[in-house]
Symmetry: C2
């Protein structure tokens, strides 16, 4: 029997400041299973404002064909090798596959690109496959692997992310943080998403966890009404201070260009035949595949 | 050579939403040592609004002689036994030692008191020794054991806590959370402490970590200007919802009686001869000793 809901399906918004702060109420096996089950009907939103999610979104808008993310450098190298030798490859061999990512904010030795959005232009990535590993973003992606759907969110495409969330009733906002520390810039974007969801839905039908309430307050209190104010707000964070110390302040400003991109990078299901198959080496870390949807 | 600081010693305020979110920037042993060293010159503030820190403060103001905290029920029983048989005991034997605390919000079987502030009246605790174990508060106390000084903070005695912090230059605010989850009511009090510290010191001389900034925003955004508003704000949290479900909503209102108590519970150093000696059983968890300072 179908239950008549009169369109009043409650919406659950769970936010985690880092992968570590997403916890089931108790640690026993039964509740872990229940929590995996709950995640299966959930849409996850991964946030690493500085800079993985901003880079993925920029690359997607610049026409990249697919983005493969891995936690380790070794796995990134293995995936790139397989893509480059794949007979069904859509790129042009070695030139069609880009190794991308950072460790300690800097480009990985031997990789094609680092983690600055400015590197990801149409000229450099259009039609290509990206294999990407970053310090924090790829850990956050792994943390929500059981979720049915996974969107990559940045300030660059906030409105597009909200459009994709319009019909979702269980949303998990996963902030990446910085080296396991809670990072304010990710919490601000998480709070901005909560704020827009509350505006678009009847507040009495929305259930927030404590972290979602706190993030929402942090965003509202920031009082951002321009890109310059947003860049200023992002500057006061552990993630930004690491970049500024390394001379990458321009990246912070670029990641604050609110709604400059239309479209969202989303995970491709394994059944998506438009994704290249990758035979995973079980001894290495998992690979996720992403595509830009305009 | 002493350095002339012209009174402009910078103040560092580090806040942790739970013991787990307090992290050194990296995980290697050298930085852990550095972090322990830094803690030694730090004043810690432990927050478990609902309800351990509110109970300790209430009991202190009601004239309790000492509060011993332990993480486990077994250790609480062992400490109480030792205190009751101590020849140098200042209480009146078994009647002078109270076993206090909760598991799953309820009084522990066989204990004298649970974790409701209303139980801690002058009649019930004045002049007595309390041995206390709670689910979250005693874990948070253990997390800051390396700090030179440790204050217990609640909304009940916020102004007194701030007086004690006036001359501190390194402050660690440790929120207990609820079963390892970040709990909004603790974050709100942490933010209130940050707000008052910022008011009392020159803002340019204060260094906040990201969690301190986020907590500060959460408190400011809550817009609390009365006890009723504070109780309402505390109600929207995982800690409060657990209590309300068990019929303990009155405890939430009681813990929102801002500045109703003058004085602070602080840890006694082992060298404090006014504290009863307790010979710790190394196979059990550590014991901390506290005293109320009016």
């Amino acid at each position: 029997m179908e239950i008549e809901t009169d369109g009043l399906m409650p919406v659950t918004i769970t936010l985690a400041f880092t992968p570590e702060t997403l916890l089931a109420p108790s640690q026993d096996a039964a509740s872990t299973d229940a929590s995996v089950l709950a995640m299966e009907s959930t849409c996850a939103v991964m946030i690493d404002v500085l800079r993985a999610s901003s880079v993925m979104t920029t690359a997607g808008a610049a026409g990249v064909d697919r983005i493969y993310t891995t936690a380790s450098v070794d796995q990134a190298l293995a995936v790139a090798k397989e893509l480059r030798t794949s007979v069904s490859g859509q790129g042009d061999g070695a030139q069609g596959v880009l190794l991308c990512g950072e460790r300690n904010c800097e480009r990985i030795d031997g990789f094609d690109h680092g983690n600055s959005p400015a590197e990801y232009t149409s000229e450099s990535v259009s039609g290509k496959q990206m294999v990407m590993t970053t310090s924090n973003g790829t850990r956050a992606i792994e943390a929500v692997k059981h979720c049915d759907r996974l969107l990559i969110a940045s300030f660059l495409n906030l409105s597009s992310v909200l459009q994709r969330l319009a019909d979702e009733t269980s949303i998990l906002i996963m902030c990446a943080g910085t080296h396991r520390e809670i990072s304010r810039e990710d919490v601000l974007l998480g709070g901005a998403i909560v704020e827009r969801l509350l505006q678009s839905k009847s507040a009495s039908d929305v259930v927030l966890n404590d972290q979602a309430m706190i993030a929402h307050a942090a965003w509202c209190q920031a009082g951002v009404s321009s890109n310059a104010q947003l860049a200023d707000a992002l500057t006061h964070s552990i993630g930004a201070s690491n970049l500024i110390r390394l001379g990458m302040a321009a990246d912070v400003r670029r990641c604050a260009e609110l709604d400059s991109i239309s479209g969202v990078v989303m995970r491709c299901n394994e059944s998506d035949e438009t994704c290249l198959p990758v035979s995973l080496d079980a001894s290495l870390d998992p690979v996720s595949r992403f595509k830009f949807f305009s």
